[in-house]
């Protein structure tokens, strides 16, 4: 059985180790990375639930505090992170077709957008802290700094990962596609979580 014959729906658990290995090729990236990413998604889901429960108990406070955020910056940051994801996805595609130059350029652009996200977020925090809106101001701002702070940590970790991937593409004769796919998967998960965070903190009423 070769890769073309592997059924797309296969999990990779089959009687034949060879068949299992081939079927596994349908998974973008490494299965361990996916387990880690899904674990992160579940942890964030629990936090989203805790936030909405807390919000329900203090709706007026949350609505008033939400007006003090900068939704324009939130929108720009969402667009920046989506653009970053696009470049990283294009890099994965180029890696598979052995187009190292495009893969490297797209990954660098994806990383640059990720860094821009971090800068804009830092500026947003600074603008809030400057007018006295801190983590201890009220329950809403506690969640705002916690949720965006934990996400920010993931962005920084993702940027380190993108740098490692860039080195893999730039300094290796034959970059391993599964390594690039795995790193990209983590980066897109950061984008995915931001989409929910943006809706919860900035938009829901």
């Amino acid at each position: 059985m070769n890769a073309r014959e592997a059924r797309p729906g296969d999990l990779g658990i089959s009687a034949s180790r060879h068949a299992g290995r081939e079927a596994k090729r349908e998974l973008p990236g490494d299965v361990d990375v996916w387990v880690f990413v899904i674990g992160e998604m579940v942890v964030f889901a629990a936090y989203f639930a805790a936030y909405v429960v807390d919000r329900g108990r203090n709706q007026e406070l949350f609505l008033q505090s939400q007006q003090l955020l900068s939704p324009g910056l939130g929108v720009v940051n969402t667009l920046v992170l989506l653009t970053s994801s696009l470049f990283v996805a294009l890099s994965v595609r180029a890696t598979r077709t052995a187009d190292a130059r495009t893969a490297s350029q797209c990954l660098a652009l994806g990383g640059a957008c990720g860094a821009a996200f971090a800068l804009i977020k830092s500026f947003e925090w600074y603008s809030k802290l400057r007018v006295g809106l801190t983590i201890s101001t009220n329950a809403f701002f506690m969640h705002y700094y916690m949720m965006t702070g934990v996400h920010f940590f993931h962005v920084v970790l993702g940027l380190v990962l993108l740098t490692i991937l860039w080195r893999e593409i730039h300094h290796t004769d034959a970059p391993r596609a599964w390594v690039i796919e795995s790193g990209a998967c983590y980066w897109h998960a950061i984008d995915l979580l931001w989409i929910v965070i943006f809706a919860l903190l900035y938009l829901m009423r």
Binding site: L27, M41, P71, L82, H188, L192, I195
Partner: protein, 90 residues
Amino acid sequence: MPSVSRGRLTGVWALLSIMTIASWWTGSRSDGHAYALVTGGVLLFALIKSRLVIRYFMEVRFAPRWLRLTCDAWLITVFAMIFALYLGRP
């Protein structure tokens, strides 16, 4: 491993960007008291955007069934839970 075409990836990105602006607009329509409607719209946009990222950027549309089902289960659970908790607030 099949790849999503460059044109489709760009198209998905454009759609995601348009929906981001649309959800911002929806979220700013809070002058009345139709908060549940506004929040429902915002969450619907976020759900569609999340699924597009999962399916096209994370390439789950080409992934094994267990991963496709896990991702869809996460999406349904998270957004149903958020909206139910929102509607069930005291």
